[in-house]
Amino acid sequence: MSKALVVYLMAGPDTPDLAHAAVDGGADTVEIGFPFSDPLADGPVIRRAAERALAQGMRTRQCLDVLARTRERLPGTPLIPMTYSSLLEAYGWERFAEDVAASGGSSMIVADLPAGERPSLRRVQLVAPTSTDERIALAGAETDGWLYLVTIAGTTGARGELSPALPGLVERTRRLVDAPLYAGFGISTPAHARAATELADGIVVGSAALEAAEDGPEALRDFVASLRAVI
């Protein structure tokens, strides 16, 4: 079975074009970051991208518009907003979920809302190398579609090596969860992508995709294609 490739983009005016290029290069799913001023789970690349997006006026309403326009360009691709609790708190938790769905969102990820909190908010859950078996089972039961395996104890951002914690985490999670497992955080090269997909069912590429996207849609498509070629 072919492995899933999820690409993260920060919401902005050119997101529809970039998302289209990513899918052209072989992405199956696109995460769209709704920027937050204080993104605790993010390293410097995504944090800076969020700062720039906010400076360009990308607030919740604008992000939902970007989502809707991306949905028009890509009718068949799962599009998943990724953000932080503060935006939902301000917008209204239920209203946010409704408007994401109405704008074509396929689920969502809330980086600072761990499993067990607000279970009625359907979302992709995350587990980490520090998660206990009990928490992995909980996240697996609550997750929407696939489960996000955070490969490292750390924030988002490219790393030199694939995390040595991944094999153990995959092995533990397989025993407890039926959903597909996608590994993310720190995956930035074809070598990482290949190694990670030997274990997991898919990968999520964030900071490295953002860096490629800075050089435009073609550069992003080529980068995504270089990952797709090996998984």
Partner: protein, 374 residues
């Protein structure tokens, strides 16, 4: 455990999954230690022989001639502020959790100094995140931390103050959670931190209650403290919350009034009252006092505001500076700029018998205050 309803609708654990097991460990260790006599004994010994507790109550007769205004003198503690009460408690906790590396954030530098101090005392590695703007404003404290062996990590993005320093400290903790204890400096952050910090600071209020009863034979009519994250305030307030006749007033910096002008929001792991725009993006705070220059506040304060038990008011930079100068001239006590906000409001209250939390001393603020006063 869903901690989301800890203080009414405030509090919770809005953090990445990576930290949840560590917060669970912290919660269970903390509740175990609270029943553990040896923990209390060890901490009390340190508070007495190392930090200098109990601190006195001083009547400020010339500062407020028409009142009976008492200062709870946390400025006399080792390291010069109430922050050491919390740092000592958490360092004992961290050692019992088996952690050998400590990470902290600091604004005014008082919490950073307190953390560097207790790490030096126990031989633990210490990393303190501090915004570049605060490093400039509180240079002497940067030197103190370094002298005691701490690594001070400058934070050069965003506001370059306490908000970003806190985010970076949390990111460090996420990356090193196996070896590291996050020694948070105020009653903010994900559960159980707000409760831990409150319990470690309530010694201020418990002592002050006994002392004012001994001095005056009655309870104060009003208790006043400055509120940044809210730790010195919650500590002194806890001595009097059940005394319905005691008016309790928290004083925020006018440009950082998370409770006065904020809205419900999520910052640094907790739902509380925060300075944010209508989209939930955190706004910049502005205060001359680095320790109050923070757009969030402890969730329990938001709760105490909503139930009407505590009033929260503001004081401007200029009002705080005037009180800073006046206390120095009339009492020979140089307060920190943070409690100068409390002094500014306290002397205007209609009540006669007033207790003010003097949370720290002003040595760290001399350069910044003199720049504005001359």
């Amino acid at each position: 455990m869903t901690a989301a309803t800890e203080f009414g609708a405030y509090g919770g654990r809005y953090v990445p999954e990576t930290l949840i097991p560590a917060l669970d460990d912290l919660t269970s260790k903390w509740s175990e230690l609270q029943r553990d006599e040896s923990f209390r004994a060890e901490l009390n010994e340190l508070l007495t022989t190392y930090a200098g507790r109990p601190t006195p109550l001083t009547r400020a007769e010339r500062f407020a001639p028409d009142k009976r205004l008492y200062l709870k003198r946390e400025d006399l503690l080792h390291t010069g502020a109430h922050k050491v009460n919390n740092a000592l408690g958490q360092i004992v906790l961290a050692r019992r959790l088996g952690k050998h590396r400590i990470v902290a954030e600091t604004g005014a530098g008082q919490h950073g100094v307190a953390t560097a101090t207790v790490c030096a005392r126990f031989g633990l590695e210490c990393v303190v995140y501090m915004g570049e703007e605060d490093m400039r404003r509180q240079q002497p404290n940067v030197e103190r931390m370094r002298l005691m062996g701490a690594t001070v990590m400058p934070v050069d993005f965003g506001t370059k103050t306490l908000k970003e320093a806190t985010s970076e400290a949390i990111r460090d903790w996420i990356a090193n959670v196996g070896t590291t204890h996050y020694l948070i400096g105020s009653c903010v952050g994900p559960a159980p931190y707000p409760e831990i910090v409150r319990e470690l600071q309530r010694v201020i209020g418990d002592e002050a209650r006994e002392q004012i009863l001994a001095a005056e034979g009655r309870l104060p009519e009003a208790v006043v403290a400055c509120v940044g994250g809210g730790s010195n305030a919650i500590g002194i307030f806890y001595g009097f919350l059940d005394d319905e006749d005691v008016r309790i007033v928290g004083v925020e910096a006018a440009g950082a009034a998370s409770l006065g002008t904020g809205r419900a929001g999520v910052l640094h792991g907790a739902r509380s009252s925060v300075l944010a725009d209508e989209d939930g993006q955190i706004a910049d705070a502005h205060s001359i006092s680095a320790g109050l220059d923070y757009p969030g506040v402890g969730p329990e304060h938001a709760y105490l505001r909503d139930i009407g038990r505590v009033e929260y008011v503001g004081a401007t930079d200029a009002e705080a500076l005037a009180a800073f100068r006046d206390l120095a001239r009339t009492e020979g006590i140089i307060p920190a700029l943070e409690p100068s906000h409390a002094l500014a409001r306290a002397r205007e209250l209609e009540e006669e018998l007033i207790l003010v939390g003097l949370s720290g001393r002003g040595d760290k603020d001399l350069a910044e205050a003199l720049r504005h006063l001359t």
